[in-house]
């Protein structure tokens, strides 16, 4: 099977209005999740990473979620739940990452609660803040890899079904 089969599966999914609606709802939910976490830096939605990275993160997360929902619904592939849950994690982790800035980060008091001392907690938050754009990019790459894995899994399942038939 040619690798472009992944793309044809993706195209098939997004031909359906139901899955387009799923993707839009997923994107809205993920953006809200991200927003809620990010705004805890200063009580405002105020970030220092480029906004396009945030939109990419939300979009890739929503597409991953939609493929997962399709896998579960159309093929009863319970393994697709894994990728759905991981895709849900990425905007949460992204929100935590961008909440780390020069002000008191969302993460810092939590790290103090966990038993880190102030020096360690601030060092961790500062390191995250310093590399926040790179970390958000890494989360986008995770989503893209998940998408590739999901589509490959669905392709193999298709192949199996076809050879059975």
């Amino acid at each position: 099977m040619p690798k472009s089969q992944r793309l044809s599966i993706l195209a098939k999914i997004f031909k359906s209005p139901a899955y387009i609606a799923t993707a839009i709802a997923g994107a809205a939910a993920y953006y809200l999740l991200f927003y809620l976490f990010a705004k805890f830096n200063a009580g405002l939605f105020l970030v220092t990473v480029p906004m396009y990275l945030i939109y990419f993160l939300v979009a890739t997360g929503a597409i991953t979620l939609t493929i997962g929902v399709y896998g579960v619904a159309a093929y009863r592939r319970s393994s697709q739940i894994a990728t759905c849950s991981v895709s849900t994690l990425t905007p949460i982790v992204g929100g935590l990452v961008v909440s780390c800035g020069c002000g008191s980060a969302l993460l810092t008091p939590f790290l103090l609660t966990l038993g880190f001392n102030a020096l360690q907690a601030v060092a961790i938050s500062t390191a995250i803040a310093r590399y926040n754009s790179l970390l958000v990019t890494a989360l986008i790459i995770i989503n893209l890899l998940l998408m590739y894995y999901q589509l490959g899994s669905l392709r193999r399942f298709n192949e199996g079904k076809e050879s059975k038939g």
Binding site: F40, L89, C102, S125, K164
Partner: protein, 365 residues
């Protein structure tokens, strides 16, 4: 036969995927729990002025009462010269480290008390639309030469430190005056906001700190520590041991002890511990973070800040004749700091007689 092998392969794959699924689900649940806990342990910043003052377990803290000179920094750093080249908003070093001229300095030093009163009234009647509100903790004052101190620990790269310094300078001007202030910016990755440097800063080096300023007051001391990293990058804070080592290297008792007070004494308690910049102490009050989020005439959303597109001259012009939310927010933020200092010096400075300041003191500042 081949079909059965293929089916088994598919089953095995499905089984291993199911295991991955459960592990991922478990990770997701743990992450959600961690996130929820983090949200609970970090309440949002108050959006309106309110009595948020809490009393730290002062009994466990020993205050400082020392005799020491303060640091007067150099007026010029050969390794970080003034750059006069005009550069685009968002990527500016234009006029960095340039001293304020006498007119500019006068806008800070001689701001009329009526501006502070008006802003205070606006804050109290909730007509300030930007976020103003500090979570202050009562702590033992850091006394040097018989006077309580204002201590500032921030980073030149930091967005909130930068926007907050205008309010700080206005507040400090009520108790003394600056003989020099310098033009600076937050880092390119943190808004490139026009701000004040208390002293010329090493804007292009890492691992250094700027100690001292040109402030004089009969009521208070001003102890300023600005952590330095290249502002052409993003926010960064040098490791705390580096800041401590740099403070110790000054050989100045006030600065050595101020850093020790923050990192060793106050950081033993979670409510007063150092958790990020800016970190300030105003007499008997410790404030974590900025006391106002003032990035322009409206509350910012996303990563676009109106202040990024303003020059120092424009900021100073607005402070000289406040007629918009940006300027009134800076004065309102200053009012909270003024109230904290007034409360710490038994209201002995003239500004402490302003009705709005007295109201803010009653609210717990």
């Amino acid at each position: 036969m081949e079909e059965t092998r293929e089916e088994r392969k598919l089953e095995r794959e499905e089984s291993s995927n199911r295991k991955i699924s459960y592990v991922a689900l478990a990770i997701a649940v743990v992450a959600l729990a961690v996130a929820a806990l983090a949200l609970v342990t970090k309440p949002a910043v108050p959006t309106q002025v309110q009595a948020t003052t809490t009393v730290a377990p002062a009994a466990k803290l020993v205050g400082y009462n020392i005799q020491s000179s303060l640091i007067t920094p150099p007026m010029y750093l050969p390794s970080a010269p003034v750059i006069t080249q005009q550069q685009p908003f968002g990527h500016r070093l234009t006029n960095i480290n340039q001293p304020f001229n006498s007119t500019e300095l006068s806008i800070i030093n001689n701001a009329p008390n009526s501006y502070f009163e008006t802003a205070g009234e606006m804050l109290l009647n909730k007509s300030i639309k930007n976020v103003v509100g500090a979570r202050a903790n009562i702590v033992p004052a850091f006394i040097v030469n018989g006077k309580p101190s204002v201590i500032y620990l921030g980073s030149i790269t930091c967005l909130f430190c930068s926007e907050n310094k205008w309010a700080m300078a206005l507040a400090l001007s009520r108790f003394g005056n600056f003989s020099a202030l310098f033009k600076g910016y937050s880092s390119f990755g943190d808004g490139d906001l026009p701000t004040i440097y208390w002293a010329p800063a090493n804007y292009n080096s890492s691992g250094t700190d700027s100690f001292g300023n040109f402030y004089h007051s009969n009521y208070i001391n001003f102890i300023s520590i600005d952590d330095e990293d290249p502002i052409t990058q993003g926010f960064n804070l040098n490791p705390i041991p580096v800041i401590e080592a740099n403070a110790n290297a000054t050989g100045n008792l006030a600065y050595e002890d101020a850093v020790s007070y923050i990192f060793n004494d106050l950081s033993k308690n979670s409510s007063t511990s150092f958790q990020g910049t800016p970190y300030t102490i105003w007499g008997n009050y410790q404030v974590g973070g900025a006391d106002a989020i003032d990035l322009g005439n409206s509350m910012p959303t996303g990563n676009s800040f109106p202040l990024t597109n303003m020059t120092h001259e424009q900021v100073l012009a607005q402070l000289a004749n406040p007629n918009d939310q940006f300027a009134w927010t800076e004065y309102a933020g200053a009012d909270l700091y003024v109230a904290m200092v007034c409360s710490s010096i038994n209201n002995t400075a003239p500004v402490c007689t302003l009705p709005a300041i007295q109201q803010l003191e009653k609210l717990g500042y």
